[in-house]
């Protein structure tokens, strides 16, 4: 019984320690953005790796998500004779939920795991220590640009996702199922309010930071060789997916 309690306590302490460690890691990483030397090119490189390279998969996911939403929504709404609401159903579910969450999941699967593997390998091959000996802060050179790139690119990717999803919904709803194009767009414009869009942007900012923070943290504290890298990558994907969905619930219940 005592042993069980001790295990529970140990687990809770570990959880708190990890959360605190991540928070300090985040604060240090973001604070370093305001300390010279500023390496603008590093930021561009990371934006390329995290943002530009994700565009194709985001477009693909978005188009199919929009098409599925339109298809499912159409047959449900048809039962109530209100197919006209299809545009607003597609746009609202994309902007409020699907856009931020699916973008974050795709980015974490594509870029988050890559970031962990990259930093993890730099750690186990002592490249981070080598940077340190050359008086280059690895936090500032490696981690900070990635955090900023996540913060900048994920909201942009989310916006691209939303627009592409709306186009996907248009293809199915208007071109295949024969809804009038005017109704599709006017219902959409009528029902989407600025709060929806702000909420979506806030969500994607939080998600972007979370994904890259988890990825960098797990990579930075990788241990025990190649096996450690594989474990860290695995943990990154699982933890960021769970965190994204948990954050999503919290943000939705607080802000929207």
């Amino acid at each position: 019984m005592v042993a069980l309690l001790r295990r529970l306590g140990c687990w809770a302490l570990g959880l708190v320690r990890e959360a605190g460690g991540m928070m300090l890691f985040l604060l240090e990483g973001l604070a370093l953005a305001f300390v010279p030397p500023f390496r603008f090119r590093r930021l561009l490189q990371e934006m390329y790796l995290i943002g530009v390279r994700s565009v194709l998969i985001i477009l693909l996911t978005a188009a199919f998500t929009g098409m599925i939403l339109a298809l499912q929504g159409f047959y449900t709404l048809k039962q109530y004779g209100s197919e006209g609401a299809l545009g607003s159903a597609v746009a609202l579910s994309l902007i409020r939920e699907m856009g931020p969450v699916l973008t974050a999941l795709m980015v974490s699967a594509r870029a988050g795991s890559a970031v962990t593997a990259e930093i993890g390998i730099m750690r186990i091959t002592e490249q981070l220590d080598a940077l340190d000996t050359m008086a280059v802060s690895p936090m500032q050179y490696v981690v900070m640009p990635k955090l900023l790139a996540g913060l900048i690119t994920v909201p942009l990717l989310t916006a691209i996702f939303d627009v592409m999803g709306i186009i996907g919904g248009y293809i199915v709803g208007v071109i295949l199922l024969g809804l009038s194009s005017g109704i599709y767009f006017s219902e959409m414009v009528r029902s989407v309010v600025p709060l929806d869009i702000n909420g979506g942007i806030v969500k994607s900012l939080v998600f972007g930071l979370t994904i890259i923070l988890v990825a960098c943290y797990k990579g930075y504290y990788t241990e025990h060789g190649a096996e450690g890298v594989s474990r860290a990558t695995n943990q990154t994907v699982v933890l960021s997916a769970v965190l994204i969905l948990a954050w999503d619930y919290l943000l939705t219940s607080f802000f929207m």
């Binding site: 390329y48 902007i95 942009l156 916006a159 869009i197």
Partner: protein, 146 residues
Amino acid sequence: MSRGNIELLVGLFVLIGLASLTYLALHLGELELFSHGYRVYAVFDNISGLKTGAPVEVAGVEVGKVEAVEMTQDFRAKLTLKLDTKVVLKEDTIASIRTKGIIGDKFVKLTPGFSDKVIPPGGTIRETESVLELEELISKYVHGKV
């Protein structure tokens, strides 16, 4: 991948992302950067769940929006309507609350008047007609007040 190429691609990506964001914010969210139009007020006995952002129509044409819903001291509903500058309302304009379709949304319908005087910006529409509530009508009929 050479340096120039990365810059080009990142630039393109940021441009597309910002364009999408602008489309969402300006077109769908109708974020008003340059505020056009003027405000008038209208006080109703009952607005029955009309929401902020509901359209204001004249002859079925959307000419504005409900900007705010408040309650007055004497428990009536005060609406702030934001109208296009092009729309000039005569003093005896009637504002009424109607429903689109059977389960549709509520909107404010303006019936233009013929007076010589116009309602200035910040003025109040005096003639208002509240929602026709089916339950109230039925109960009046059942309790024999008709």
